[in-house]
Symmetry: C2
Subunit: 209 residues, 2 copies
DNA sequence: CGTTTACAGTTTACGCTGTCAACCTAGTCC
DNA sequence: GGACTAGGTTGACAGCGTAAACTGTAAACG
């Protein structure tokens, strides 16, 4: 017998209740605390009922990952709207990226810091959308497409290295965190915009020795 | 009854056999496949016997992490031994770092990409040793201690971002991987050695506005 | 109206995980 | 010979993701 209506938050919409509870657990207790049984008991159904709406636990997490990318894209996009010098616009975009990571570390963790085998099944289509912030960074370099993507990727890896190590608490606590963030963001943007000093671009290197 | 001697590799030294098997599983099947029962059955004992030598599964993993740091330190240290220009020496050190990460991704994963709550218990003393490669990078900048540590950390975060995203297979496969690595390493080293262009150092910024 | 079908859950179960408490057993020492 | 100990074992607990079978309800159809 299904549970009486009063035991569930949204009445018939169990799927929404499951997603809401999953989000709540993620934000309050972190990814490690996410379990089908815990969600089910909080929502008032059994663990297997989750599989009526999500093919697997991963699929449920993918729904949360999607939410994260929506917010990240919104933030980075918003930061680049106001005009200004390329360096300044890029700096704002980069700061929007790291701000998101620090304000929503639980989202960032499932988006970028999860085991490879758990992300493998993340649909390729969604993956493309996931790279949108990177493409924004790349476009702002004003370079050729391939070159821009390379520079944007380097900047992105720098930002990701910074926020992932800070989220994982691997960085010396004696540091002035804000100064580290500011300087890293600055270095990433300058590095992405300026050509590598005294060196031809990687594509050209092949053809002109 | 303890198992007969022939079932175990090193005779009485069960602890060593457990560590050997754990390393073998890690390198062959990855961190996700590491389980006490799997190790135990391969070694020829019960899962609980592991707790005679390791306080927890985490403690066993910490032993593997220690091994990883020994090799990483050896590589980075070795790369900086031969003399040369500061930039060239730093480039070699950085390449040694990323080479280690790509040749031993399973080690790198448990060393730097593990959940925060699993590394929390990693002893602080070992943690200090873990930062040795970073300090090497910092020393090579030839800057003041605090400034050097900041620059070294920025370089390190860049390298970590690169290798962690590559290991997790989050980077566009269309890329020329070697070119990306080369340019990122170059950018990281140049950024660490050269002062942030047109800007005072972060410490000075406070005292000389 | 009665029957069928589909839906939306449940119960039960399997095999896996890390870990603890209690037990056993061979060897050593007094 | 009896006590002690080191080095294991067995059994259990609480939890995990998930697959299969079952059940009650409601709508659709002849």
């Amino acid at each position: 017998m299904p549970p009486s209506r009063s035991t569930r938050s949204t009445g018939t919409d169990l799927e929404l209740a499951i997603l809401d509870e999953a989000r709540r657990v993620l934000l309050e207790s972190g990814y490690a605390a996410l379990s089908t049984r815990r969600i089910a008991s909080a929502v008032g159904c059994t663990a297997t009922s989750i599989y009526l709406y999500y093919a697997s636990k991963d699929a449920l997490i993918h729904a949360l990952i999607d939410e994260g990318f929506v917010e990240l894209n919104r933030r980075v996009l918003g930061a680049t709207e106001a005009d200004g010098e390329p360096l300044e616009r890029m700096r704002r975009a980069a700061m929007a990226y790291v701000d998101f990571a620090f304000e929503r570390p639980q989202y960032y963790e499932i988006m970028f810091m999860l085991r490879a085998d758990q992300m493998e099944r993340y649909p390729a289509e969604a993956y493309r959308r996931a790279r949108r912030p990177l493409e924004l960074l790349a476009e702002m370099t004003g370079l050729s497409e391939e070159q821009a993507l390379l520079r944007g990727t380097i900047a992105w890896t720098t930002l990701h290295g910074l926020v992932s190590l800070l989220i994982a608490q691997r960085i010396d606590v004696r540091f002035d965190r804000d100064a580290l963030v500011r300087d890293t963001v600055h270095a990433a943007c300058v590095g992405a915009l300026a050509p590598l000093p005294g060196d031809a671009s990687p594509e050209l290197r092949k053809t002109s020795p």
